[in-house]
């Protein structure tokens, strides 16, 4: 059996699953709007939380946060499960699926057969949607793949219970009640934007938000003396990999949020949001520029490569621009209220 589920690829797996699930229930919402409503634009650099022995740098919130926030705003009820027993996890999936309900699941990508081998690290926060089952094969909608994919039950079990940082533990979720769903309105968009500004400007810890970008810059200047040349270069490569995290165009989601601001500008009839969107696009381009220069450093391509100090300087400029942008964004939204 296969549900009448439209598989639309997207830039980011969590946004994509949310958007595709909503469409199944008759709500058409762009990925950018999902991202915006989920207050998804973020930054964090966490040296204490490691993947492959190196700090995690993230450009969006904790996995699951975007989904939770959108569902809460829209008044949708969801059911979430986590399992210790792998077989129970699979039979619960089957039970829900056979009722005609598409199921979002968290998987690790290390054993995903359709991922290129170069991508198969122990990354465990990947979201896909199970939309059918034929014999022993599950039909899945993975937003980062152009077409639908198939996984055998053993393959699915393996990825649902992958090991490593933040193991998925068979997590699954589905919309249990959408009767109370509210259409997207101005109030929701404002609330979501203010929350995003808050997250970027007001977390009182140095590793998060705009301060987090400065924190990364500060640490980057010391990488060579802390870790030596080789490990410093690997750290930099890890930042770039996390910046890109499948389809952000190298801008760490800045372009996606700029697209959201364009939609918000129309919805709120607020042209200033369009101007801020353009500014955020320019900031996204600066992130791309940072990445191009970083890649040249660890590849030692030219004699004229930037140093870690110069890369850190670029980050400081980006941090200042993002701070200014979020303060203006906050002001525009508060002014209009």
């Amino acid at each position: 059996m296969e549900l009448n589920f439209v598989h639309k690829p997207s830039g980011h797996c969590e946004n994509g699953v949310v958007s595709n699930l909503l469409r199944f229930y008759g709500v058409e919402m762009s990925e950018a709007m999902v991202f915006g409503l989920g207050s998804g634009l973020f930054f964090s650099h966490m040296p204490f939380y490691k993947m492959h022995g190196m700090a995690i740098t993230s450009f969006r919130p904790l996995p699951g946060d975007i989904f939770s926030r959108v569902v809460k705003l829209l008044g949708i009820k969801m059911k979430r499960f986590k399992f210790r027993d792998k077989d129970k996890a699979m039979s619960k999936l089957d039970e829900v699926l056979l009722k005609g309900i598409p199921v979002g699941i968290l998987v690790g990508v290390y054993h995903l057969p359709y991922f290129p081998k170069e991508y198969r690290f122990h990354f465990n926060a990947h979201n896909i949607c199970v939309i059918g089952k034929e014999g022993d094969q599950y039909i899945v909608s993975d937003p980062v793949v152009v077409d639908k994919c198939r996984l055998s039950s053993n393959e699915l079990k393996l990825v649902r219970f992958a090991s490593g940082t933040y193991p998925p533990k068979g997590r699954m979720y589905y919309i249990s009640d959408f009767k109370g769903i509210k259409p997207v309105n101005e109030g929701m968009v404002r609330k979501a934007i203010l929350k995003n500004c808050n997250r970027m400007l007001k977390i009182p810890l140095p590793m998060f938000g705009v301060e987090g970008i400065r924190y990364l810059a500060k640490r980057m200047r010391k990488w060579v003396s802390f870790f030596g040349e080789k490990k410093a270069a690997l750290n930099l490569a890890q930042v770039i990999r996390m910046l890109e995290e499948i389809g952000t165009g190298g801008a760490g989601f800045r372009f996606m949020y700029a697209a959201f601001l364009q939609e918000a500008s129309i919805m709120l009839n607020e042209p200033r949001l369009n101007i801020l969107s353009a500014e955020l696009t320019a900031i996204g381009d600066q992130w791309r520029d940072f990445s191009y220069n970083a890649a040249r450093l660890f590849k030692k391509r030219d004699a004229e490569v930037a140093t870690y100090d110069q890369l850190a300087d670029k980050l400081m400029v980006i941090a200042d621009r993002e701070e200014k942008l979020f303060r203006e964004l906050e002001k525009v939204i508060r002014d209009a209220q």
Partner: protein
């Protein structure tokens, strides 16, 4: 990023179904989605990480041949497994996995244990016991 700037550096992704959906602006500054088959800095970053892993594997291989590490150490590194992760997949403890990286302990492993390790690594036992 403008539509015409969307990268199409496909060296890693082109032979798979995975694609990057990017957001780029048209001539009027309006955002639209554009599919990308990859981006050079990210390809470089991924390849750089793998090159480092491969170099470390060669060093471990030399140690295996010198008798200071077991073939398990080599395969773990090649397959980016840590003792903690392999412990989780195989059912052994982290402490046991670390001990098995020593040639003395590894050579005493029964076939059933080797099979458990090999299965967790998704390789054959014959592959596990050698570095060729």
């Amino acid at each position: 990023m403008k539509i015409k700037e969307v990268p199409q550096d496909g060296v890693i992704l082109e032979s798979s179904g995975v694609r990057d959906v990017c957001y780029a602006v048209d001539e009027n500054g309006n955002y639209t989605q554009v599919i990308s088959v990859g981006w050079e800095p990210k390809n470089d970053a991924i390849n750089f990480a793998w090159e480092a892993i491969n170099e470390e594997c060669e060093q471990i291989k030399a140690e295996v041949n010198a008798g200071t590490l077991s073939p398990l150490a080599y395969h773990m590194h090649r397959l980016v497994m840590t003792p903690a992760i392999l412990a989780d997949y195989s059912g052994f403890s982290k402490r046991e996995i670390k001990k098995f990286c020593e040639p003395g302990f590894f050579s005493k492993l029964k076939y059933d244990d080797l099979l458990k390790l090999a299965d967790a690594l998704k390789i054959g036992v014959e592959q596990l016991i050698s570095v060729d």
